[in-house]
Amino acid sequence: MKRNPLIIVVVAVVVALMLFIGIHTARRSGPGSAAASLDIKGHAAPEFALQSLDNKTVHLSDFRGKAVLLNFWATWCSPCKIEMPWFVELQQQYGPQGLQVIGIAMDDASKEDIAKFAKDLGVNYPILLGKESVGEAYGGVQFLPTTFFIDRDGKVLEREFGLKSRSIFEDNIKKALGRGQPVQAQK
């Protein structure tokens, strides 16, 4: 079979170009962006073990059977301050139906400062001290607030990046409460 040298040249050029673009993109994106592209919606929520403000080790699996609103936040995040009072209210409203709000502080601030911040906002749900590895497991939490809605079976139902309206959170909570089998949670 006779091969046209032009085709070989064109293929070589195109492959080289695509390789260049790929390498350039990988360099520009960095490791965090690769993680950000990981979409865990519809997948099992990654397990974690994090320390709470009262020095207890808390696992996500402790809340199996509950709908979990998992909120990544930080003391330096002004939009987070808007959401957190909503979460306090939503915890009160939907807690009896099986909602558990969990805050993960992605902060360099001291535990005392985080506790003061949470207390000032009247937080009535567990605040855990975040680790980068947990953020990475959740797809790379590169901006805050970022909130995940996990159904009773431990599956990520929805995630919201940035400040959203209270009604969006409430709708997602209702969906999370309605899905999965309610079981007696350990906590």
Partner: protein, 182 residues
């Protein structure tokens, strides 16, 4: 030859598609940029001021050097000068009190757009007159109207040219001064 043309066209379409599909700048993208100033000449033994110009990208804001809450992270510039060049006062601009959709009723003191930080640089008397590079990092924490990004360090550098300056009259021996204590 028709097959060749079709193949070339297909491959070029593929390249175009791959290029078009490149992601937009993600959360890791720089939200503050630095425009290095022209080389500033400073005279040995005398202070000189260097103006450093930064730009906050459209749609973003960063906290000023004196943010309105203890929990907010201030913008700060850390400089590392060569030996015998002293970094003096770093003057930050006043921020602008702005309201944001996420902070109703609360004004945040922020920088947006262009802002300049002024730095006093004083080469000691014994510095060899030549150009010196001064390196540093601007620490900032940016937000847009709905989300905040982790604190970031922007590496930056600028050059100063140290001039010998006019020869001054011979100095009195300090030991002979009536005000000298040692």
């Amino acid at each position: 030859m028709g097959v060749t043309r079709k193949l070339v066209a297909s491959l070029l379409s593929l390249v175009a598609a791959v290029t078009a599909a490149q992601p937009m700048p993600g959360p890791g993208a720089a939200r503050v940029t630095f425009a290095p100033p022209a080389i500033v000449t400073v005279t040995r033994g005398k202070p000189g001021t260097v103006t450093l110009n930064f730009r906050v990208g459209p749609g973003y804001h960063i906290n000023s050097n004196k943010p309105s809450s203890e929990f907010l992270i201030p913008t700060t510039l850390k400089l590392d000068a060569p030996t015998d060049i002293v970094i003096g006062k770093v003057s930050y601009p006043k921020g602008e009190d702005m309201s944001f959709p996420f902070a109703s009723g609360e004004k945040l003191n922020v920088y947006t757009g262009d802002f300049a930080v002024r730095v006093v640089v004083r080469p000691l008397h014994n510095v060899v007159p030549t150009k010196y590079a001064i390196h540093g990092n601007l620490k900032y924490q940016a937000c847009d109207n709905a989300a905040c990004y982790p604190p970031k360090q922007l590496p930056m550098s600028f050059e100063v040219k140290v001039a010998k300056g006019a020869e001054t009259a011979p100095r009195h021996n300090p030991a002979q001064s009536p005000h000298a204590h040692r």
